[in-house]
């Protein structure tokens, strides 16, 4: 059973460019969340997708956008890249939003983005 997979592993871009990161959730999961982790800090929540819609969003500008496909995979797009966007971008999958309990998130290995 494949866990959460992300591509690419590493990416180098220059300021002003656009980037697309991809994530495939764990088998059976239908919810995908994206996080940004700067060096030495904890992951910060960007947004979450469920049923192909953005359900929750953290404190990130509109330059960060996403998409979820019918097969539950997801993309994170970042436009007009800034030096400060350099970070490890993590994707996490979980099962649904229903119920009262917290649903465990499974994280992928991340994509290391460097903006020069």
């Amino acid at each position: 059973d494949a866990g959460v997979t992300q591509s690419p592993t590493h990416l180098i871009k220059t300021r002003g460019q656009q980037v697309t990161l991809r994530c495939s959730p764990k088998s059976g999961h239908d919810t995908v969340s994206w996080y940004q982790q700067a060096l030495g800090q904890g992951p910060q929540f960007i947004f979450q997708y469920y049923e192909e819609e953005e359900r929750q969003r953290g404190n990130f500008p509109d330059r960060f956008s996403g998409h979820q496909f019918p097969n539950y995979s997801s993309e994170l797009n970042v436009n007009a890249l800034l030096l400060g966007d350099s970070a490890l971008y993590l994707c996490a999958s979980s099962l649904g939003l229903a119920g009262d309990s917290y649903n465990e998130q499974f994280f992928g290995p991340g994509t290391r983005l460097t903006v020069l």
């Binding site: 904890g42 229903a98 119920g99 309990s101 917290y102």
Partner: protein
Amino acid sequence: LAKTTQPISMDSYEGQEVNITCSHNNIATNDYITWYQQFPSQGPRFIIQGYKTKVTNEVASLFIPADRKSSTLSLPRVSLSDTAVYYCLVGALASNDYKLSFGAGTTVTVRA
């Protein structure tokens, strides 16, 4: 969103028990307490989750007092491979205010 406070770092030796306490004074009724472990250049990995009292699994125990304003992750008999950053999170995925973010975490260093 409940804010969490953890020690920045802790040192230990192989075979010892490590206890990490997390403060979350404004935890909400629907919030669960979850701990993750992260190794360098990897995504966080779920360790344990609880709502109240004590939870134990094959790798850790989680102690939550009655007021739920803090919690303690206990790692029994640590080894060198337990050297990692440990994050305490408070939140409820099903909550309308779900914006789960990690704090700075606690860097645990296990020495031989």
